[in-house]
Symmetry: C2
Subunit: 225 residues, 2 copies
DNA sequence: AGGGATCCATGATTGGATCCCA
DNA sequence: TGGGATCCAATCATGGATCCCT
């Protein structure tokens, strides 16, 4: 199959995404000449990558948005029967040695500046190939949403700069979490300790809590129930 | 010991309650010449009844407020280390055969018209005698609080009148629940079924969800954390 | 039987761990 | 290694059951 070209603008991207609504993952995979794994246990990112290809995401350009030319990030949302997100959403890795960048210029804020949310059924009772794609939502943070993100980010960033990374758990942050992000817990990265010394620690990622992405969907769609 | 006389007015009641703040249940029990049980498993109402006696509640007058002369109900609130209620609060039994009374004249509304809330430490790690009494709060429902109670009460009452009591679970009601209230699940009372016939069912009580009583405390005290 | 409530088994949540691909 | 994420054991929440007293 010839790859899907990048969308020229947001309108084209959104139109493509809307055409996916109602489609099963099996159907979409077939149209892209892809095999469907039995389950996601050993293929956790499969759904996201399938949809990237279906929408013409720019591959292989790390540290750039999925749709580089038009500055849009793609995020699939695994949802339950009520349409509510069942998992947190990974945003980006946590810089552990960065100079003191501020919120306005933060990696996190840039990643979330413009996001195409695409809900996908994720109940384990539905075979992977039969799970359906939901209604796309092109989103930027509303002022109150950005305020929440900013507050959490600034609190977490300050603690990292103070060398307190090891004391940060996934319980911190009202809408934004810091959690391990690696192949396993033996992975190590350099960071800064309480006395300014270099230490080794697990790599971390920023994640949006499911309650936050649920609120985003809730605000834009009338959910059933 | 000579029993504590009923308080003459709310001011006297509140003053007495405030004097209890910081006191341990062991100290209070000793001053009233009472034995402290090892735990509450077989003495679930012990804390409430101890504090009734300490404050001069009118005993034995069923269907009347604890402080009958001044129209105040006493409720102890079992709280965790953060001061948050750990259990729902029983209010009154659910009338199963009553004529169609309305909210204004409901038993529930009258019970909650004026309540003296008294938080008490309830963590199982603290021996019963060492648990301390917190700061008393004399409360009447604010307009928004009453609106929530009323909405739940009216929905639940309508379902009971329609004979749908058996379909009501503790999941119904945003702030108010209906739950079993009996010595055990073999207790039976008369009620009305879907076709208007008399049926036998478990006795039920109205309970306030812990999130609701937590909001009441939150509104009046700055909680730590 | 109503009023004082808490207990506790079970379901729901989630924090930390992990998996594949390029 | 960063980006695509989900897994799942351990914890939390709570609905239904229960206990004592008068």
């Amino acid at each position: 199959m010839t790859p899907v070209p990048p969308p020229r603008d947001e309108t084209e991207l959104l139109a493509r995404a809307r055409r996916l609504a109602g489609l099963s993952l099996g159907d979409l995979a077939r149209s892209l000449d892809e095999a469907v794994p039995a389950d996601l246990r050993r293929h956790k990112g499969w759904v996201g990558q399938l949809i990237e290809r279906a929408l013409g995401a720019t591959a292989n350009s790390l540290a750039a948005p999925d749709f580089e030319a038009i500055g849009v990030e793609l995020k699939t949302l695994p949802v339950d029967a009520r349409g509510l997100p069942r998992e947190s959403t990974y945003v980006c890795t946590v810089p552990l040695e960065s100079a003191g960048e501020d919120w306005e210029h933060s990696w996190l804020r840039r990643k979330l500046a413009r996001v195409l949310w695409l809900p996908v059924q994720a109940e384990k009772t539905i075979p992977l190939a039969e799970r359906r794609i939901g209604s796309a939502l092109l989103w930027s943070p509303a002022p109150d949403e950005e305020a929440l993100l900013r507050r959490d980010w600034e609190e977490l960033t300050e603690r990292i700069l103070l060398g307190e990374l090891e004391q940060i758990s996934a319980r911190h942050g009202e809408v934004l979490q810091i959690r391990p992000k690696a192949a396993d817990s033996r992975a190590l990265r350099h960071a800064v300790g309480v006395d300014g010394e270099r230490i080794l620690t697990n790599p971390r990622g920023y994640y949006l809590r499911a309650a936050f992405t649920a609120a985003i969907l809730q605000r834009h769609f009338v959910l059933p129930g």
